[in-house]
């Protein structure tokens, strides 16, 4: 097996969202709806090695989430390919697969099963998940009564207990209190020590700089810079300050 754990090659994604224009008589009579092509990812290529934390930074709408979705396999690109070696866990949004009316206990099962775990694996790890999320007292309460911190702790705990080799992470470490943030950072470092891989999308330049080995900067779907995390973050910072003299 090669050292690369995520390979993205020439990835190209375009959307054709429906554009709303002021309806004129001619347009409403015509049968064609107005579409405008938006290129979300324009021939993006990079590779992430095993044991590496790789950051993706860029402005809103730069294509970061689209990129993660392609790597996660939930969005089919228009061209190119994304290859992932190893068991993947995604944390693109918090609480995916959870039903708020149900208890934390049932949601641990639902979330784990949704992510591809088997029921007996979840049973084995159940106590660990609860303990890690610091939810011992609240686990039999409906999740809609949870605070957002409790909610995200449970989601994170389920995702980390999947034993992923590759973790796809989107901007969620900003939730939870300081001590839990520290705990989640520690869990991710452990993953890296076990030769796991993390693809990390964030607006928080500080955490990318601190946590990631390498990074890319996406600008309107194009790779504007690639290299060591601190280098890429520096370039990105410069461009942002240049725009705001």
């Amino acid at each position: 097996m090669s050292r690369a754990s995520i390979v993205v090659e020439d990835l190209y994604v375009r959307f054709r969202p429906y554009i709303e224009r002021k309806p004129t008589l001619r347009r409403s009579l015509g049968r064609q709806r107005t579409h405008e092509e938006v290129v979300a990812l324009d021939h993006v290529s990079f590779a992430v090695n095993r044991g590496e934390a790789f950051g993706v930074i860029g402005k809103n709408g730069a294509g970061k989430s689209t990129l993660l979705r392609c790597v996660a396999g939930t969005l089919r690109p228009n061209g190119g390919k994304a290859v992932v070696h190893g068991k993947t866990s995604t944390l693109l949004q918090l609480g995916v697969g959870f039903i708020p009316e149900l208890t934390g206990r049932r949601n641990i099962y639902l979330g784990g099963l949704a992510a591809g775990m088997r029921k007996h694996d979840i049973e084995e790890r159940f106590d660990e998940i609860v303990e890690y999320a610091e939810l011992e007292d609240a686990i039999d309460r409906p999740m809609k009564t949870y605070s957002s911190g409790m909610f995200s702790r449970l989601a994170f705990s389920v995702a980390m207990n999947l034993d992923p080799e590759v973790l796809l992470l989107d901007e969620i470490l900003a939730v939870g209190d300081a001590s839990f943030q520290e705990k989640s950072m520690q869990a991710m470092r452990n993953l890296l020590d076990r030769a796991g891989t993390i693809l990390f999308v964030s607006h928080s330049l500080g955490s990318v700089e601190e946590f990631c080995d390498r990074a890319i900067w996406l600008d309107r779907g194009v790779v504007a810079a690639e290299g060591t995390a601190s280098n890429v973050v520096d370039q990105y910072r410069k461009s942002v300050t240049q725009q705001r003299p």
Binding site: F15, R69, C70, V71, A72, G73, T74, L75, R76, P77, N78, G79, G80, K81, A82, V83, V84, H85, G86, K87, T88, T90, L92, Q93, V96, G97, I99, P100, E101, L102, R106, Y109, L110, L113, A114, A115, G116, R118, K119, P142
Partner: protein, 283 residues
């Protein structure tokens, strides 16, 4: 474990798809039961609504078409048809919604998308099973009838019914994801289908003078053959509340519905699976 995402999709491999569905069977079950519990979590009667819903529905129609406009006073006949129809209608409307309401799951996790309409179908199937029990109780209390070996017909009817419903739900989901208008149209479609099926009108209506040219085609309605198989399995033939005997079974009806189930089932599932790679683009 290596996963490659390219413009062409893995679902072309049928065996892999079916294996993946099987591997995820616990998820399907938990999702079905979870949705069901969530739906009932904030009502006082909770699970009891499963029994109450189909019974109330039947009583409403019995009140209107049995008492106000007398056409069919046999409530057992009406209930049997209504429960069978209700299961299909639920799968149909729920299947289309299953994709749209679970967009968060779909954009985040990779799994065979057919799981969502399947979970919805299983939720409806559990309700349907309960309602068949209710039907037996009503038919015992009101008619003193207990079905014999004919209940074994359910072994053929229920699986075919499930296949048929899954096909319909898949077709609805396939259409409703790019064209949301389908969802608005659905209540009218199910309503007209209900009136075209032998539920509120008695079978004798087809031979009466009032029957329009529609009567000639009534039998081709899949609901017609399906309901007649269920009736042969479960309920007595009665005239003015007096039991004449078990409902006679017509094997041609079972055969006819089997054809419907296989065609609708596989065409629907096939259309859906071919489309599922594009779902993420429509959410």
């Amino acid at each position: 474990m290596t996963q490659t995402t390219t413009p062409t999709y893995y679902t072309r491999r049928i065996v892999y798809y079916v294996k993946e569905l099987w591997r995820r069977r616990e998820f399907i079950w938990f999702l079905a039961m979870g949705n069901f519990k969530a739906r009932n979590a904030s009502t006082a009667l909770g699970l009891f609504w499963w029994v109450l819903n189909p019974v109330l529905l039947s009583l409403v129609y019995w009140f209107v078409f049995g008492l106000i406009f007398p056409g069919n006073r046999d409530i057992i006949y009406l209930m049997s048809g209504m429960f069978v129809f209700h299961f299909t209608a639920q799968s149909l409307t729920g299947g289309a919604n299953a994709i749209l309401q679970n967009s968060k799951l779909l954009t985040n996790l990779k799994f065979p998308r057919l799981i969502l309409p399947m979970a919805n179908l299983i939720e409806a199937l559990v309700g349907f099973t309960v309602s068949l029990g209710v039907l037996l109780v009503f038919s015992l209390v009101l008619r003193g009838f207990i079905p014999g070996a004919s209940v074994l017909l359910l072994l053929a009817a229920v699986p075919l019914h499930v296949l048929f419903n899954l096909g319909l739900a898949s077709m609805a989901a396939r259409l409703a994801v790019p064209f949301r208008d389908i969802n608005n149209f659905m209540p009218y479609f199910t309503r007209i289908w209900l009136y075209l099926s032998p539920i509120i009108w008695p079978l004798s209506f087809l031979e009466s003078e009032n029957a329009s040219s529609f009567a000639r085609f009534a039998e081709f309605n899949p609901m017609f053959s399906l309901i007649s198989v269920y009736r042969a399995a479960l309920i007595p033939l009665a005239e003015d509340g007096v039991v004449i005997g078990p409902t006679p079974f017509d094997p041609a009806m079972l055969g006819q519905f089997a054809v419907w189930a296989v065609v609708v089932g596989f065409v629907g599932i096939g259309l859906f699976v071919r489309f599922e790679g594009k779902i993420a683009r429509h959410l």
